[in-house]
Amino acid sequence: MKTLLEITKSGMDVAQRGLETTSNNIANVNTEGYSRQRLVTKPLFARNGLFFDGLGVRVTDVEQLRDFRINNAIYRKNQELSYLNIKSNNYSQLEASFITNSGNDLDTRVSAFLSTFGDLAANPASLDIRNKVINDAEQMIDTFNNLHNSISDQRKTIAEDVESLVGIINEKLNDIASLNEQIKQFHVNKRSTNGLIDKQTLKVNELSKLLNLDVHRTEEGQVDLSIKGISILSGTKVHELYLSNDSSSDLINVRLTQGGQGVDLDEGELGAYIELFNNELPELESDLNDFTDAIMNQVNNLHTSGVGRIDSTSRSFFELESTNPNKLIINEEILNDVRNIAAEDPNEVNASGNGLIAQQIADLKDIEFLNGYKPIEFAIQFISEPGTKLHAINNNVELRRSELDLLKSQDQQVSGVNMDEELSKMIQYQQAYQGAAKIMQSAQLMYQSLMSILD
C-alpha cells in the first residue's frame, strides 16, 4: 500500500514538473534567445525476485532543444550580413552627398565650367562671360571640396565608430568569459546550465555581428572564440582587442592587447569599417585627387600658353592651396581682374583678341585625358561609384537576409516555443496529475476500507 502511494506521488511530482516546464516555455514564448525545454523522465524499478516491479517515475533532466550547427551557421550569416549592412549604410550616405536631387553634381559643374570657356571663345571681350567663368570655376571647386569633405568626414565618423565598437567587443568577450566560468561551475555542480547557455548563445550571436568569429563549443558548454586561428577567448581567458595608432599610414590596425599580434578582420561590422577606412574610401579620395589634378593640369597647360586682355604674361588658372595640397584655388591675379583670363592664342598674330585658347579649354570636354575617359564621363563614373557599389551590396543583402531568415526558421523549428504544443502538453500533464490524484484517492479509500475492518 505504501508503494502505491509512493508511485502515485512520483507521478504527481513529474506531472507538476512537466507543468512547470510547460509554464516556463509559455512564459518565455517571446524571449529572445530562449530555447524550449522538455522534461526527460525515467521509470523506476525494483528487483522482486525474478521480476522488476515498477516503483513510479523520476525526472532525470530538463533538456534544452537546440541545434548548435544551426547556431554556427547563423553566426556566419550574421557576420556577412552586418558587414554588408555597414557598407550599405556608408555608401548610402556617400551617395546622398555625391548625387543631389537638384542634379547639380560634379558632372554638371565640370561641364558648366568647360562650356563657359566655349562661351568665352565666342565672346572673348565680354566681361560678363569672364565673370561667369570665375563663378563656374568657384562652383566646380566647391563641389570638389564638398566631395573631399564628404569622404574625409565619413572616415572620421568611421574612426570614432571603430573605437567604440572595439570597446563593445571587449565588453562582450568579458561577458561571455564570465558566462563560461558560471557554466563550468554549474556543470561541476551538476546544475542545469540551460539558462546560461541561452544567455551565452545570445551574446555570441550579438558578437558575431561585429566581427569574423570562429566558434568552438566544448563538451561542458563553454565557447572558445578565435579570428582566423588567433584566439580571442579561450574558456575564461580573454585576449582583448585594441586599436594601434599608426599616425604615419593613417590606417586602422586592430591588435591583441597581449602580445600585440595583428588580427585580420574582414567580416562583420568591424571588418566593413576597416575595409572602408583603409581601402575603399582612400581609393575614392585618390580618384578624386587624380581628377582634380588632371583638370588643373589640362586647364593650366592651355591657359599658360594663352594671354589675357591686359598683358602678355603667362598665368596659371588654378593653383593649389599652400596649406592643403588637395584644394584648388583660382589664381589671385585672375580673381582680382577677370581680364587676366587667357582666352587668346598669342601665336595667331593676325587674330589679336581671338578666343582660340578658350575654345581649346572648352574642347577638353572631348579629350580622353583620364584613363581613357573624357572629363564628364569620368565625373559621372566617379559620382556613380558609391551608388554602383550600393546597388551590388543591396542585391547581396537581399540574398544573405533570405539565407538568414531560412536559418532562423530552421532554428525556430528546433528551439522555438509552439503555444498549441505547450497547451497540449499542459492538458497532458494536467490529466496525468489528475489520474495520479485519482489513484491516490482510491488508495486512500482502500486504506480506509482496511481500517474499518479493524474498527
Binding site: 551617395e95 562650356s115 562661351d119 571663345a121 572673348p124 587674330a351 554602383t388 546597388h391 522555438g416 504544443e421
Partner: protein, 437 residues
C-alpha cells in the same frame, strides 16, 4: 515541419516589410515622377541618363552660340544694308555731278555731301555687337575703321581674320567680318575662285635638246638633295619678282645632308619678310604670296648666281607664273578718288567711276546674300539641335521617368498583397488552442 508562432510572426513581418518597402519605392516614383534618381537605383541607367543630360546641355550650348552668331550676322546685314543705301546715294550724287550744270558750287555741294556720306559709311562699318566691332576681324575693341585726320583717308584697324563660333561638333562658322573683305572688293573673290592665282610652281623641268629634263634639274628634283649627287651643286639661288614689281634675290647653300625639307625651311625664313611662303609637295616646290599687286609673281631658281649663265650654271627650276590678279575696287579709295575728281571737276573720270559704284553695290549685295545663306544654315542647324534635343529628352525620359500606368498598377497589386497579408495574419494569430480550452 514544426511551425511555431514565432515562425508565423517572422514570416508575416518579413512580407509586410517587403511590401511596405515596395510601396515606399512606388510612392517615391509617383511623387517625384522619376524612377531613377541616383546611381544605386540602376547604375547603368543612371550613367546613361547623365550622359544624355550632358549631350542635351551640349546642344543647348550650340543653340546659344547660334543665337549669338545670328545676332551678330543680323547686325552685319543691317549695316551692309546701310552701306548699300550709302553707295546708292553716292552713285546718284556722282551721276548728278556728271549730268548737272557743272558749276563749281554744285560740285562743292556734292563733294560735301560725299564727305558726309563717307563718314556715315565709316560709321556703318564700325557696327558693334556684344563682343566688339564686327567688321574688324577677331574680338576687336578698337574701331574697325577710322578717318586719318591729316590725310582724310580711311584707315583699317582690324585684322583679316574672322571670329569663328563652334555651332556644331567640329563645325565653326565665321561671324565677324574680315575688314579687308568689305573694303577691297575683288581681292578675296579672286582668291576664292582661283587659289592658284598667286602661286608660282617650281616643278616643270627645263628640257634638253632631246626633250628630256636637263640632267642637273632631274637629279636635283629626284635626289634627296645630297650634294654629291649633283656635281658642283653647292647652292641654289632664287630670283623673285614680287607682285608689287620689285625683285628679290635669295641664295641658299646646300650641305651634303641637306634635304628638300631643310631647303624649304631655310628659304621660308628668307621669304617671310616678302609675304611669301614656300612648300614642297611630291617633287614640286610652290611659292605662294599672301599679298597682291598688279605684277605677276615670278620665281626662278638657279644653281649659280642669277644671270651668270656660264658653264656649269643650270637653271634649277623653270617657273610657271600666275596671271596678274585684279586688285579690285577699294570702297573708300574709290570714294576718295571721286571726291578728288569732284574737286578737280573731272567729268570724264567721274563718268568712269559710276561703273565702279555699281560694282561695289553688287559686291556688298552679294555679301548680304552670303550672310543670308549663313543665317539659313544657322536656322537649319538650330532646328537640327532642337530635334536632337527632343529625341535625347525622349530617350532620357524613357530611362529615368516614371511610367505612371505601370507604377500605379504595381502599387495596386502591392496594396492588395499588403491587405491580404494583414487579414490572413490576424486570422491566423487568432487561431489557437486557447480558444478551445
Amino acid at each position: 515541419m514544426r511551425i511555431t508562432q514565432q515562425t508565423i510572426f517572422d514570416g508575416f513581418m518579413k512580407h509586410i516589410n517587403d511590401n511596405r518597402a515596395e510601396m515606399h519605392d512606388l510612392q517615391q516614383d509617383i511623387a517625384s515622377g522619376k524612377k531613377i534618381t541616383k546611381a544605386s537605383d540602376d547604375p547603368l541607367k543612371f550613367k546613361r541618363a547623365r550622359l544624355l543630360q550632358e549631350q542635351i546641355r551640349e546642344k543647348e550650348g550650340y543653340q546659344d552660340r547660334i543665337n549669338t552668331a545670328r545676332n551678330t550676322l543680323d547686325i552685319a546685314e543691317q549695316s551692309l544694308q546701310e552701306v548699300i543705301n550709302g553707295l546708292i546715294e553716292i552713285k546718284s550724287n556722282v551721276t548728278r555731278a556728271v549730268n548737272s550744270t557743272h558749276d563749281s558750287a554744285s560740285f562743292t555741294a556734292i563733294k560735301q555731301e560725299l564727305e558726309s556720306l563717307k563718314e556715315e559709311l565709316v560709321a556703318s562699318f564700325n557696327a558693334k555687337d556684344v563682343n566688339g566691332y564686327i567688321f574688324g576681324g577677331v574680338g576687336n575693341d578698337t574701331q574697325s575703321y577710322t578717318i586719318d585726320p591729316n590725310s582724310g583717308t580711311v584707315v583699317s584697324n582690324g585684322s583679316n581674320d574672322s571670329l569663328s563660333l563652334e555651332v556644331d561638333k567640329d563645325l565653326s562658322i565665321d561671324v565677324t567680318q574680315d575688314g579687308n573683305f568689305i573694303r577691297t572688293t575683288k581681292y578675296d573673290d579672286d582668291l576664292a575662285s582661283n587659289p592658284d592665282s598667286y602661286r608660282s610652281y617650281l616643278s616643270d623641268p627645263v628640257l634638253d635638246g632631246a626633250g628630256d629634263p636637263e640632267e642637273s634639274n632631274r637629279e636635283l628634283r629626284t635626289s634627296n638633295l645630297a650634294g654629291s649627287l649633283v656635281p658642283g651643286l653647292d647652292a641654289i639661288h632664287f630670283q623673285i619678282t614680287l607682285p608689287d614689281g620689285t625683285q628679290e634675290t635669295i641664295g641658299v647653300d646646300i650641305q651634303n645632308d641637306t634635304t628638300h625639307e631643310d631647303l624649304v625651311s631655310v628659304l621660308n625664313g628668307n621669304l617671310a619678310p616678302h609675304n611669301l611662303t614656300m612648300s614642297y609637295e611630291d617633287g614640286t616646290y610652290f611659292v605662294t604670296s599672301t599679298t597682291m599687286g598688279e605684277s605677276q609673281l615670278v620665281v626662278q631658281g638657279f644653281t649659280d648666281a642669277p644671270g651668270n649663265f656660264g658653264s656649269g650654271n643650270y637653271p634649277a627650276f623653270s617657273q610657271q607664273a600666275s596671271g596678274v590678279v585684279d586688285q579690285g575696287v577699294d570702297l573708300f579709295n574709290t570714294i576718295d578718288e571721286t571726291i578728288a575728281n569732284l574737286e578737280n571737276q573731272d567729268i570724264d573720270a567721274l563718268s568712269t567711276q559710276i561703273g565702279q559704284f555699281d560694282e561695289l553695290i553688287s559686291h556688298v549685295t552679294t555679301h548680304i546674300t552670303e550672310i543670308g545663306l549663313t543665317n539659313n544654315r544657322l536656322n537649319f542647324l538650330e532646328e537640327k539641335h532642337e530635334n536632337s534635343k527632343i529625341l535625347l529628352n525622349a530617350e532620357l525620359s524613357g530611362w529615368v521617368d516614371t511610367d505612371y500606368a505601370e507604377t500605379v498598377s504595381k502599387l495596386q497589386r502591392t496594396e492588395i498583397a499588403f491587405q491580404s497579408a494583414m487579414t490572413i495574419h490576424t486570422k491566423m494569430f487568432n487561431e489557437s488552442l486557447i480558444n478551445y480550452l
